[in-house]
Amino acid sequence: MIQKQMQERAKQMLSLGEVTCVLGWKKGDFSTNPQPAVFESEKDLEDLVYDKYCAANLSKYLVELTKKEGKVLVFLKPCDTYSFNQLLKENLIKKERSYIIGIGCEGNMQVDDDMQEIGLLEKCQTCTKTAHMVFDELIGEELTVRQGDDPFEGVLNLEQMSSDERYGFWREELSKCIRCNACRNVCPACNCRKCVFDNNKYDTAQKVNASSFEEQMFHIIRAYHVAGRCTDCGECSRVCPQLIDLHLLNRKFIKDINEFYGEFQAGADTDTPSPLTDFNIDTDPEPGSVHKRG
């Protein structure tokens, strides 16, 4: 069993002093909600779990963990390695302080309020990320078969709406938001020292708070901030207690970027410049095509 293998390997590395701690998942209140956890001893590692409910992306935890001396062993699913790369690209984690064990993934399950399985998570249904983009070693089989739903289908549907319908859709969706900030806190791209919605340096926070539709401002600004950096890890939608399909907003940006500048996948590597922060006089379409699309 893969979980056993992971435990053994982690224990071995800890005991040999090759790593100082292990970042993985441990059992939550229910069997269906394992939580990210840091293990510091071989005994702790008995609690490490890995199953179809371990959806949480562990990459962002490395931002804090790799600030400390020592080395962290981290278990990453294929999709999580994109976030790792993106954070590396933004100089937010230290590669030399992490040891990545890539683990196979068969897709994670979604549960309802009664903890009943209701099928694959959206992010897994439309998953295109079958291989690890970065790792030190691999455990378990790479899953080659994916559900294969078109990730852009939802965006296409939205694009086909009239602008009034679309506005109506987002108003309805975003008005469910309770500004718990879970989406932002889980998002690997939202890694600012102090988010504009929390700092007083500019009046963004105050202005957003003063808006009658504060949630809309928050989400639009956030979508712009993560555009070109969002790897489509799907964590925002997964953690939203109000079940808002936040990924639609980010995927619209991804789709547009692909169409304007050619296919781009954030986090696929650490050196391809992001189309939004790179300018190429010969191939960039703006402002012509942007203008044409109206």
């Binding site: 933004e90 020292r193 700092n199 340096k201 790179d278």
Partner: protein, 660 residues
């Protein structure tokens, strides 16, 4: 407590004709923080300026708004006026109610509302202004000219004469440019080489001029007054210091059949070659692509015959890095490719471009000046010139602009033919003949009246080469009839365009180019030889089609501007540059990637975060390099980066005020 003064200008009727000034004044009085409002017919006049100064002193104003024209026009004027008082000149904002308002609107009510909104925005901004203090930056007293055509050479000579060192970088093995290829020049018909080569020699021996031929710009860093530029001197394979220019090498070179660039492919050159007899420097280059020694390792004949032992097969590209105060782009033009103009049968040896014709009629050219058909080496009995090939046409393959020089050089060509061979029949197809210029129309009329050149208004639809002659199908637009005629030689007045490499040069220097790749001037009328980027100047046909007199006159103007800059010991820098709050920066590198001036780097810095000390990777702005473009500011998600004088707060305040 802010005490803001607002000064509304009529600009004669320029503003007052469309904007109700009284209303703007009245509205401004009720804006928060406004203590004083005045209006005046010409605020920029001396009286207007003293009125502003007086008001600042008398009412102890903390900030002022001038509602008038574009800041590009008079911001400096009013900042100077403010500087004469106790107010910091950066506590001033201009509301542009002329270019952005009165000039673009007809409806008085709408224009007045907009003028009010713009004024309101400027007032809102001034509330957040802070005093700023310009710095100083040094000026390196050395200029770089890119392109050694007549534009580059004459500009360099003018600057060198004023006592400044100038380097010329030329991509081909010799300076001279297109003018060196020409035979005679309109409208005086003097020999091109005879007037060009003395200039080239002057440049070669001028103590202040260094010429780097067979060289390219590798990289550019820095800014006005302080550019650091690396030049790649391509390996010539000949030691410039040892070579005496005797030419023994190219006489012996066994590879003799390479179409020569200088002769537009009509004549052949050797693998080791000097492009033309008067080349400067008179040092050959080895074309490594064709040289036997480089291809097979055998040969080396040139090496054996070179008495001073100058051949160096091992020579490598050399990189030279130098500092410059100013850069001049003078990369010139080239005829467009005729690949997409199948109807003119350019693939036929007897259909040539005008530049090829120049080489053919040149006594030093591939036919020794003999006018012949390339196919059968016979003298043609009739020649047809076709004008506007690829010019003044909206089709994608063509240029929409007029290439400007073709009417004149075609008249020149026609006249030269008639002068030397009166028996040859000469026809010219034209759309219309454009001859504005000193002695230009007289020149063209001479071709028609004195030399009997037959001008036909009409376009050629098709050319067919049937071996011993060329068939032309055309329309005569004046007689409104189809023409089918035979001719022996066709000369295409091919459109000219900027050289391809100019895009790269412009990119490296952040200078702008237009959709046709011509360099853009900072202002088409008032700054005709400056690029919009400070310290980058323009000369010659890279700006747009130009003949030699215009090129030389322009190059002189460019030199004057460059000399004006190099004569200064230091420049006042713009204080409106990026400003980082290290506490908020997470070192993500987003800003570094977008900075076009390479002004951002990173340092591990100790940050005191509410008593918690930590070493963090933080962006650091090089104040000398930052041009205040603001790219980093909009890229930084959390707002750690800001722009002095245009801070996020100021911009938001303006937007809010406009939307109010």
């Amino acid at each position: 407590m802010q005490k803001i003064g607002v000064f509304v200008c009529h600009c004669g009727t320029n503003i007052a004709g469309t904007v109700n000034i009284d209303e703007v004044v009245e509205n401004a009085k009720h804006e928060p923080g406004v203590k004083y409002v005045a209006e005046y017919p010409y605020m920029c006049s001396e009286a207007g300026q003293s009125m502003v100064q007086k008001a600042i002193d008398e009412h102890d104003l903390s900030g002022i708004v001038i509602s008038a024209c574009s800041p590009r026009m008079h911001e400096t004027t009013f900042r100077r006026a403010a500087a004469r008082t106790k107010l910091n000149p950066f506590m001033l904002e201009m509301a542009n109610i002329r270019e952005q308002c009165s000039w673009v609107h007809k409806d008085k009510e709408e224009a007045t509302n907009k003028a009010h909104a713009l004024t309101r925005a400027a007032i809102a901004k001034v509330h957040h202004n802070t005093p700023l203090f310009p710095g100083e930056s040094p000026v390196t007293k050395r200029a770089l000219v890119i392109g050694g055509g007549i534009a580059g050479v004459s500009c360099a000579l003018d600057i060198a004469e004023a006592g400044f060192v100038v380097d010329i970088v030329e991509s081909t093995p010799s300076i001279g440019g297109k003018m060196a290829q020409l035979d005679k020049t309109f409208p005086t018909l003097d020999c091109s080489a005879c007037i060009l080569t003395p200039k080239m020699v002057d440049a070669q021996f001028h103590e202040n001029i260094n010429i780097h031929t067979y060289s390219e710009i590798e990289s550019v860093e820095g800014f006005v007054g302080d550019f650091t530029i690396t030049i790649r001197k391509k390996a010539r394979s000949v030691d410039m210091k040892k070579c005496t220019g005797c030419g023994a090498c190219y006489d012996k070179c066994p590879i003799k059949k390479i179409p020569g660039e200088f002769d537009e492919g009509l004549g052949m050159r050797t693998a080791i070659y000097t492009p033309f007899a008067q080349a400067i420097p008179n040092v050959p280059v080895i074309d490594r692509e064709h040289c036997l020694k480089f291809k097979t390792g055998k040969c080396g004949l040139c090496e054996t015959v070179c008495a001073p032992d100058a051949i160096d097969f091992e020579q490598e590209d050399e990189l030279i890095t130098e500092k410059y105060g100013a850069v001049i782009i003078a990369t010139g033009i080239t005829p467009i490719s005729l690949d997409k103009f199948g109807e003119y049968a350019y693939t036929s040896p007897d259909v040539i471009t005008s530049l090829e014709f120049e080489r053919m009629t040149n006594a030093a050219g591939p036919t020794k000046g003999e006018l012949i058909r390339i196919s059968d080496k016979k003298k043609p009995k009739s020649i047809t010139f076709i004008q506007c090939v690829g010019s003044r046409d909206v089709a994608v393959r063509s240029k929409t602009y007029c290439s400007k020089i073709c009417c004149m050089y075609t008249a020149k060509h026609a006249m030269l033919v008639k002068d030397k061979y009166p028996d040859i029949e000469v026809n010219v197809f034209y759309i219309d003949v454009r001859t504005p210029g000193k002695n230009f129309d007289e020149f063209y009329r001479r071709a028609v009246e004195e030399y009997g050149v037959n001008y036909i208004k009409g376009q050629v639809g098709k050319v067919v080469d049937n071996g011993d002659s060329l068939w032309i199908q055309a329309v005569d637009m004046l007689d409104n009839k189809q023409i089918k005629t035979k001719t022996d030689l066709i000369v295409l007045a091919t459109a000219i365009e900027p050289v391809k490499s100019v895009r790269n040069i412009a990119g490296m220097l952040s200078a702008s180019i237009d959709t046709n790749n011509f360099m853009t001037e900072a202002h088409p009328k008032l700054k005709p030889v400056e690029s919009p980027t400070a310290g980058v100047f323009l000369a010659g046909a890279c700006q747009g089609p130009k003949d030699i007199p215009e090129t030389v006159a322009g190059a002189g103007a460019t030199a004057a501007k460059v000399i004006g800059l190099l004569a200064k010991d230091k420049l006042i820098t713009n204080p409106c540059i990026a400003d980082l709050d290290p506490y908020y920066c997470n070192g993500c590198s987003a800003c570094e990637k977008v900075c076009p001036y390479g002004a951002i780097s990173y340092e591990d810095t100790e940050i005191n975060d509410h008593g918690k000390k930590a070493i963090r990777r933080i962006a650091v702005i090089n104040k000398a390099l930052c041009q205040g473009c603001g790219a980093c500011v909009v890229t930084c998600p959390s707002g750690a980066m800001d722009l002095l004088g245009f801070s996020n707060r100021q911009i938001t305040a303006e937007v809010d005020a406009i939307c109010r």
